[in-house]
């Protein structure tokens, strides 16, 4: 390279300025680019005002996990998370179509909140104290757990019969480091069969290789509602974890607004919307809020 350059200069063929960038141009360009980026600072009012002024809600969610957030056969984004997000938009603009969904992987949930890519993320985020240090959790809108699904009319009818059968029962479960321990928390002696995909796990129950399948309560409820009358719930669930939406820390009005929208969808005026969404994705109605003293304050 050096030889080539020097030869060219020596022979006087190089007249740089005309064709190439010189060092000064580069430095000036770099400084102005950095300056433009730094000067472009975001607004500082509470997020609630920004969202209202913008006229639409930007929601982060996934696209690959039924019944939470997935594309249906005609390519629309649907699911319980999506319906929950629409409840927030409805509260803001009285119009649940004033919403823009940003498709994000599970690992992007917290980064996209921290970098203001989205106003709120509703994407089955499990509430943990560690995460609450990075983002602000809203009130939970679902409590996930692990449940056991049996074939209807099969050898075992419910959890008690499974437990009584001891090591004679085989439980199919999605492969996972904690899978064996998770099953043994509920059925200490059961044989555990691990599968690396959801369809194989269900197939093993269908073919009779396994007596029950253990997986997320929401997935089982959805699967059962998609395949009516073929399966029953054992009636026992364990491993509770709460799902909530997340927003950026430091926006108290915004957090309070989302909380109000969610709480009133679970206990107040917009309960019918929540109730129908719950029925649609989990195949059953949630318990009605009790009239009289507000139960959530007890």
């Amino acid at each position: 390279m050096k030889r080539h350059f020097e030869e060219a200069v020596r022979h006087g063929t190089l007249q740089r300025g005309t064709f190439m960038f010189n060092a000064r141009t580069i430095v000036i360009f770099g400084i102005s680019l950095a300056g433009a980026l730094v000067l472009h600072a975001p607004a500082n009012a509470d997020k609630l005002d920004d969202v209202l002024a913008r006229g639409k809600l930007v929601v982060g969610t996934g696209t690959t996990n039924p019944p939470w957030h997935f594309k249906n056969e005609v390519g629309e984004l649907v699911g319980f998370d999506v319906d929950v997000a629409k409840m927030i938009a409805k509260g803001l603009f009285d119009d649940d179509t004033k919403i823009e969904f940003v498709s994000q992987a599970s690992d992007a949930r917290i980064p996209n909140i921290l970098t203001d890519k989205v106003d709120v993320t509703c994407q089955f985020v499990t509430v943990t104290a560690a995460r609450a240090q990075q983002v602000a959790f809203t009130i939970p809108y679902y409590r996930e757990g692990v449940s056991l699904m049996l074939k209807s009319g099969g050898k075992y009818k419910n959890y008690d019969e499974l437990k009584a059968a001891g090591s004679a029962v085989t439980i199919s479960v999605l492969q996972n480091v904690f899978a064996e321990q998770m099953v043994h928390d509920a059925l200490p002696e059961a044989t555990v069969d691990q599968f690396d995909s959801v369809d194989l796990m269900y197939q093993s129950l269908n073919s009779g290789r396994a007596d029950a399948a253990a997986t997320d309560n929401s997935s089982l409820k959805y699967y059962m509602s998609q395949n009516p009358d073929q399966f029953v719930d054992s009636g026992y669930s364990w491993n509770p974890q709460s799902y909530a939406c997340i927003v950026k820390r430091g926006n108290p009005d915004w957090l309070n607004f989302v909380n109000v929208a969610l709480r009133e969808s679970m206990t107040g005026t917009t309960f019918p919307v929540y109730k129908e969404a719950y029925k649609k994705w989990f195949g059953e109605y949630p318990t009605e809020p009790k009239i009289g003293f507000p139960g959530e304050l007890r």
Binding site: H4, N22, E73, S103, Q104, D116
Partner: protein, 213 residues
């Protein structure tokens, strides 16, 4: 197999949309990347020592880091600075910079492979530097640069699948969405793998035709 074909038929539009997005992103990235790459490549070959340095730094950073890291950086760093790019724009930015660095290196290589006598000959008939580059050097460099340039295109099509991680609805993410609904993971991953393979083999064959000439 029938079940798969049935599901494939149901999923034909999302998969086609994904494929179009994959091709669109790759084509835009190779166009921008080629512009960046040729300018940087000329600079790397004929620039003075100090003016070469920032370009060398750019090329080394892009070639020395995984594309996934560039994709995530292009998605998050501008938003930290208050410039919000959509996932697609961030993806095109990352892939263009990646392509630019590779094309800069292959441009430099191709230019240096041309004997210095060519520059001298150009000068002896009174051409300016600009005329020498455009009329004498580029036509010769093009011949040796074309096959590796097409390879860069192949890398871009494969690399575009990484954009699924920032939520760009390209072929891989749309395939994952279909799998999320019907659980036919193996069949649909193989299917999209075959599509990538077919496109890339076709490109590769094109490169070979140019190579033979």
């Amino acid at each position: 197999m029938d079940a798969f074909l049935n599901q494939l038929w149901i999923a034909r539009w999302p998969l086609l949309d994904g494929l179009i997005t994959t091709l669109q992103i790759s084509i835009v990235a190779i166009v921008i990347g080629t512009i960046i790459g040729v300018l940087v490549g000329v600079q790397l070959t004929y620039g003075s020592y100090f003016s070469r340095m920032p370009f060398r730094l750019y090329v080394e950073i892009m070639r020395g880091t995984p594309v996934l890291v560039s994709v995530l950086a292009a998605f998050y760093i501008p938003s930290v600075m208050g410039l919000s790019l959509t996932a697609k724009m961030a993806g095109i930015l990352a892939l263009s910079l990646f392509a630019g660095a590779h094309i800069a290196e292959l441009t430099r290589g191709s230019l240096q492979a041309i004997p210095v006598g060519q520059i001298e000959a150009g000068r002896s008939i009174g051409l300016t530097f600009k005329q020498i580059v455009v009329n004498v050097l580029f036509p010769q460099a093009l011949r040796s640069a074309l096959p590796p340039w097409i390879n860069t295109g192949v890398e871009l099509i494969k690399g575009s699948s990484l954009l699924s991680l920032i939520g760009v609805a390209e072929l891989l993410l749309n395939t994952q969405e279909v799998i999320g609904r019907n659980f036919m993971a193996i069949q649909f991953y193989v299917f999209s793998g075959v599509i990538y393979l077919v496109i890339n083999i076709a490109l590769d064959q094109t490169a070979r035709i140019f190579d033979r000439r």
